[in-house]
Amino acid sequence: MTGVPTFTKRQVSISAAVLVLLALYPLAVRGSFPMHLMIMVFMFAMLGVAWNIMGGYAGMFSFGQAAFFGIGAYTSSFLLTAYHVNPWIGLLAGGVVAALAAALIGIPCSNLRGHYFAIASIAFAEIVRIHFNNWKLIGAAEGLTIPMQDESLRSFMFHSSKAPYYYIMLGFLILSLGVCSWVATSRMGFYLRAIKESHDVAKVLGIDVVRYRMAAIMISAFLTAMAGTFYAQYILYLDPESVLILPISVQIVLVAMLGGAGSVMGPVIGAAILLPISEVTRVKLGFKGSGLDMIIYGTLIMLISVYQPQGVWGLLQKIGRKNK
């Protein structure tokens, strides 16, 4: 069976080495841009991993993850600005709210497959966006500004350096990798893959399709919302146009697919490649206003889809097999 992860000693030692390098990175670089870039890489990697749980593993291709991202960001920010709730608690609250929203949308969509599910997810995310855009309680179109406080871990806010944000996001990423890995190797992962292969066969075999799909959606939503809270505490301002829009959802899917959907590490690789490309082309080419950077981006997506749909991870596995 493909895609069942096992961790060889070699993989573990490579991972450890990479982890050490990542931990030292903030000490080695100068300037805010390299740090910002890596933080974005970690954030999108986490979003991609979260997507993978329902997309890569369970075959539910969600193009509406921005809804959960936004729900997470808004929940913690609203609780903070209106009721002075600590953002870490807000983080958990956001995750719960997102998971509940996922359950809510999961019920009608649990029977949808493939392209139908994709469109339903887009429709759902757009409804959330439009509603938040008009909902005065949470700021509507003006959004929410996180008031500046003294920097501390407790207040989840740092001004003098990006390093704390870097380490926190890295921690979140490792957490989500752990969750994904657990899902993949557990019985749930086994069932999800069976459901992905064939919905009907799985049902006949007695697998509670709905229950496992719902679980996958909810876990995915929870993690995505966590990243949303991080975003809010990092940028200190959010409005529907910055957290609830379709391009964010699309970028999450691209990160997962480019890296390799259905593999634990895939999205990490995907983010590590896609984010620098999109940020660097914007910085170097964007200011001319010609759209060249996005043309390159679009071409890249087409090439990956056609020639390497299994993503980089798939490519590595192919090479690995060839070398055996």
Binding site: G31, S32, F33, H36, I130, N133, N134, A140, A141, E142, G143, T145, M148, H159, Y231, I235, L236, Y237, L238, D239, E241, S242, E279, R282, V283, G286, F287, K288, G289, S290, G291, D293, M294
Partner: protein
């Protein structure tokens, strides 16, 4: 005696010859002073961003070159307080996203070492960019974002030169009152229409507030998505409510769509007071004569040249350099480089604290700006230019004509709005 004199002369002359080197070495940056400019150069608002860019580029040209214009630093080359150092712009593309506003502000400050930042047109992007510069303690001079709350955050490094939407909304109501008292045209009911992103909803909020203050009845309060495929429902509601005057805050795409739909469905209020989209350079070429008689808020209008020759001179330079008319967006972004450079020059320093102190003491007289303001002076608390006001222009014969304040009007306002069917 003659020998001493010659030696003194030689030493004096040598010292004089070397002094520029000494002077310039005192300023770590050497011969150029960098400022960061953040604008949406790609993405949905790219056409506006490029317009802003033109305004900034012209300003920097004037500052760096020698021009016989009554603008700060125009008659000298570069920044006189720093020995004529030239101003250099580091461009940053925000793509219209707030998170890029933050990232790009940080990048130009930490990596390119700019001494100040200008931009970013969209208020939501300016919000995050100026938060970043506040954290980094670098001055930010904004002359093109209009959200009122930008200067209500208590930031100490952020300055706004141009009017905000609260001022513009207030203008609209002062106009309606003036219309009643001076032109004997009474207005009782209002329709408030606005696109539903940050810009529009802020304006809507301000207008509803002033409507209450001034005692007008709001019979329609309609917000909509600015990329709507069709606005039949919105216009239908307006027709049903039948307001005397329509207040509309929009971007250019919805301005075009609404104008066409107003004509098509026969919506004929007594007057239309609009913002933003209707004064974008692309609006009139697209809508042509159907734009006539619509009133738009403006910081700038080409016919100001009649009362202020400086405007005509600058507009002429712009037209020569770019081949198109000096637009309101370009005119807005035009001023920020002057304010920042003038402060740097007065501070005679590239240190942030010195520049900020100089900014707070800014006092540029009214005849040195291209708008009908009394000048540029920042409120000590909010750091908003206290003299920033708007004007109202009306489209007549497909030109923007200043019609209010009535004292500085170039032509009389046409009121009421001639019904669509009655026009040729």
């Amino acid at each position: 005696m003659g020998n001493l004199t010659r030696r003194k002369l030689l030493i004096g002359g040598g010292a004089l010859a070397l002094s520029p080197l000494v002077v310039s070495r005192a300023f770590a940056q050497g011969k150029t002073i960098k400022i960061g400019a953040l604008y949406p150069l790609t993405g949905n608002l790219a056409s506006t961003g490029l317009d802003n860019k033109r305004g900034v580029e012209l300003a920097v040209d004037i500052i760096n070159g020698k021009y016989d214009l009554n603008l700060p630093l125009a008659r000298t080359q570069g920044i006189p307080g720093l020995g004529g150092a030239k101003l250099e712009v580091v461009w940053a593309d925000t793509k219209g996203e707030p998170k890029n506003g933050q990232a790009e502000a940080e990048r130009v400050v930490t990596q390119d070492q700019v001494v100040g930042v200008i931009g970013a047109y969209q208020s939501s992007v300016t919000k995050t960019a100026s938060q970043a510069t506040e954290r980094l303690k670098v001055p930010y001079v904004c002359s093109d974002s209009s959200s009122p709350n930008l200067t209500e955050r208590g930031l100490r490094y952020f300055f706004r030169v141009s009017p905000h939407d609260g001022i513009f909304s207030h203008d609209q109501f002062r106009f309606l009152k003036d219309l009643e008292t001076q032109k004997k045209q009474k207005v009782q009911t209002l329709g408030v229409l606005y696109e539903n992103t940050e810009f529009g909803s802020n304006v809507g909020k301000e207008e509803l507030k002033y409507a209450q203050e001034f005692g007008y009845k709001v019979v329609a309060d309609v917000s909509y998505a600015n990329n709507a495929t069709d606005v039949t429902s919105e216009v239908g509601r307006l027709i049903k409510a039948n307001p005397d005057v329509l207040l509309h805050a929009s971007y250019i795409t919805d301005a075009i769509l609404f104008t066409k739909t107003f004509k098509e469905m026969g919506f004929n209020p007594k007057g239309m007071l609009t913002m933003a989209g209707y004064i974008e350079p692309g609006y009139l070429p697209a809508i042509k004569a159907d734009g006539n008689f619509i009133i738009v808020r403006s910081t700038f209008a080409l016919d100001l040249a009649k009362k202020k020759p400086l405007v005509g001179q600058v507009a002429g330079l712009f037209k020569k350099k770019y081949g198109i008319d000096f637009s309101e967006n370009a005119a807005r972004s035009f001023m920020a480089p002057f304010v920042l450079a003038e402060a740097i020059s007065r501070a005679k320093s590239t240190q942030a604290e010195a520049i900020v102190k100089a900014l707070r003491e800014t006092n540029i007289p009214g005849d040195q700006v291209i708008y009908p303001w009394k000048g540029i002076q920042f409120d000590p608390k909010t750091q908003q230019n206290v003299h920033a006001t708007g004007t109202l222009v009306q489209i007549q014969d497909q030109q923007y004509v200043t019609v209010w304040p009535f004292e500085s009007a170039a032509k009389d306002v046409v009121w009421p709005f001639p019904a669509w069917k009655s026009r040729k």
